[in-house]
């Protein structure tokens, strides 16, 4: 019986050590709650907002693979070894002899790529062993991604705007896209004030903003004014034209411009996937007016 007890206590102690390590030593990162599809009020949307929606979809979802770091998929919004940005090169793809789809123009090509990614596989990006005939890209209009037709159109509009070619898609009219009928776990409540937003996303840990005194990242108390200076900076490589655009870009793509005197890579790049649409707009407005 003594051995029995010793073994029981020893086993409990070993288990306890692992449980302690996982609970106390490893940081408790709380993953985002399951997503809830937003209802889009397309009827009241301007083209600029529609393009913004496409940009958000692209940054939230597509950049997981279409980014300059991993080399997993062709670049979409940057020019590079794959040619000009997709908005411009799509027109050329449909003329490629290896193209297997039915699109007649760039817009149709991009839409087809979302539904049937293997219609054209960019050389070097095919599934291994298929000689670039099968694309590893998932269908984005169904399954886990499940983009609506409106969102696909918004992404096309964003690609075309980004490439400087005429936007050929139209904002879908008619009834707003229905909210998802899929019930899900209740999402975290959207922040209603800048203070709530700052507390929710921990901006004050690094930034001086909305009553918080974060010491290690740029002061945001006057970012509405400072943003215009940054846009004119010779090192600025982003695409923003105004303070709101700069702030949007800094949140969604922090590496577009790193404020002088601050280290790169500190700002998390995944806020675009976490911040809810309505609180995002509220915060951008608040910061744009912080002068």
């Amino acid at each position: 019986m003594r051995t029995f007890l010793k073994i029981v206590i020893f086993s409990l102690a070993v288990t306890g050590v692992y449980a302690f390590f996982a609970n106390i030593v490893i940081p408790q990162v709380r993953p985002a709650p399951p997503p809830v599809e937003e209802a889009l009020d397309l009827g009241s949307m301007t083209m600029e907002q529609f393009v913004g929606l496409g940009e958000k979809v692209f940054n939230d979802i597509c950049t997981l693979c279409h980014n300059p770091v991993g080399g997993r998929a062709p670049l979409m919004i940057q020019a590079g070894k794959d040619g000009p940005p997709i908005g411009a090169r799509a027109e050329e793809r449909v003329k490629d002899p290896t193209y297997k789809g039915k699109a007649k123009n760039g817009e149709e090509y991009i839409r087809e790529s979302e539904n049937f990614p293997s219609a054209f596989v960019v050389p070097g990006y095919g599934v291994k062993g298929t000689n670039d005939t099968v694309s590893p890209m998932p269908v984005t209009t169904s399954g886990a991604i499940g983009l609506t037709d409106a969102k696909v159109d918004a992404v096309i509009a964003y690609f075309q705007t980004n490439a400087g070619v005429p936007v050929t898609v139209k904002i879908p009219t008619g009834a707003p896209a229905p909210a998802s009928t899929e019930a899900a776990a209740p999402p975290a409540a959207p922040a209603k004030t800048p203070e709530e937003f700052v507390a929710k996303y921990g901006c004050g840990v690094c930034h001086k903003v909305a009553g918080q005194q974060g010491p290690i990242c740029p002061d945001l108390m006057h970012i509405g004014t400072v943003a215009m200076t940054r846009i004119k900076d010779k090192d600025y490589k982003g695409k923003a034209k105004d303070a709101a655009g700069y702030i949007t870009e800094s949140i969604l793509n922090p590496s577009a411009f790193v404020a002088p005197g601050f280290p790169p890579g500190v700002m998390p790049p995944d806020f675009g996937a976490k911040i809810l649409a309505q609180e995002f707009n509220m915060m951008v407005n608040f910061l744009s007016n912080s002068k």
Partner: protein, 625 residues
Amino acid sequence: MKLFSVVISKGLFKRGFIAALFFFAFLFALPLLKPAKFFLIGTNTAHASEQAVTTEKLPDAEAKPEAKKEEYQPAPKLKASDYPQNKYINGRVMAWLTAQLHLWFAAFVLAVPIFVFIIEAIGMATKDERYDKMAYEFIKVSLTAYSVTAVLGGLLLFTLVIFYPDFIKYMSGVFSSTMLAYAFLFFAESLCLYIYYYGWHAMDTGFGKWMHLTVGWMLNVVGTTMMLLTSAWASFMMAPHGVSATGAFEGNVWLAIHNHLWNPLNLHRFVANIAFGGGVVGAYAAYKFLSVQTKEEKAHYDWMGYTANFIAIAGLLPLPFAGYWLVAEIYATSQQMGITLMGGSFAWWFIMQAILIGGLFLSANYYLWCGMERTKGAERYIKYTKYIAFVIVMCFLVWFTPHTLVLKPGELKALGGPYHKYLGPLGIMPAKNTAVNIMLIFTFLSFTLYKRCSKIATVSWAPLGNAIQAAIFTAAVINVVICGVYFGYFTNTVYKVASSVLQVGSTLTVLISVTIIDIFMFKGAKEAAPLEWGKMPDRSQYALFVLAVTFTWLMGLMGFIRSGIRQHWHVNGVFRDASPDAFTPTIGYGARVISTGVIIFMAIIIFIFWLAQFGAKKSFKAANH
């Protein structure tokens, strides 16, 4: 290794090899079979969503027969209210715990018959009754565990029916034929196991022994087939196949079984089960070693513990490679899922995995080093153990160095960012791959030294053999480091991933070539000093317990990660989990559930060990007097 040498020297190798060949052929030929009705059409590896689009969105695609569309409904779109709640029991935690406990016991009862069969065959070939006796004792422990497995399986089914009725209805709609087959196979396995166990002494000579061995073979075939079926259900939930994008079953169950992740999961489970089974019977032997008093009994359970540790290490060494294949296929199936796994929400869970695997390697090595005390011949090698320990600890430290640190503002400011200037690069995969391969190579070195403690090679080419082995070890380590450092940090991602294959190749080369050289070099070796079984310090037995508890914790952790990367999907991409508990928990929450499961599992298994004492005392006395 002694087991392996016996197989070679006693001529069992040829028969064993053919038998093993048939066994593995059976395992891996299933995907190639295409009987007309059960497997309606041939195999392909298109994914559900891709397949659905191919058929639904391309105008020229072949239309599905209308009858099929009407016969099977899409996956239901559920609301939170569709999940029954119980005031006192959380359905998710209940399902999590029962599924995990069932898997632990199932892994144990599937693994034990595999090595019991091999040990019995060795005993039969060598006519050494010790093997037979040990095999019988192993199967006796697994017999009690078998009943617990069945009870937990029933509890899991009830839990799913009560808390996830729509999910179980959907899964049984797709897999009805395999679920019925599973139930019938359960009967077959019970029958084989009872004949195998209760017929052990009745069929212990001549043709009877062959018959007994054949029953053991059938037990393993049935058990492994059951594992393949359950793996099909689990892998389908991750990589649905044979269903439309809305989850409607297309009528061909073979496509659903042979999904993209089925075979990688089969292999990983098969190897992991053996390592886990070895770990648990090692704990049994340790428990008995600490409980018994006589020298003979101590010697017996020491030998049993050594054999169990050998089995656990033999399973542990190839496990990272099987895991690597599984993860590569997860990436190939869904990059999104792969990134969630390794770089997203679950990245910190892998730091915990590193801790646990470090614990496994250190305890297994420690047990081997303690084992050197069994013979005076080990004095030649004991001086090297401190260097091996140093290398393994360093590799362990590299393995659990995180890439991105979660810091307080002051710490972030002091560090100048979330990445440490020097330690940050150790957080990425090339460093981890390098560390784990070196850890494997040095563990194998520990084992190689242990094997030769009591022997002196007598062949004339022994010095040359030793030099070649040393050269192989050295070249492999250099190659692993160069592949990790040069291709990992100074070239692009494509080479970074590809270089890991070279690293694995180096490790496998060491394992295979050094083993082959050893077999021939120590043929007819003379004894350096007698090997005294039972001459082990008690602390070494606790290392076997660390091994068992750590294996159990690790299986719980990795089981959750594999399942958890589906996030808020019952069946990835086609059937959403809308329950209030569909969130991905923090690692602390997960650790508390896993630890609870480990404690329940260990409590039951130690109770089973304790129960086994009653009969064992009597039979040991009868056998020795």
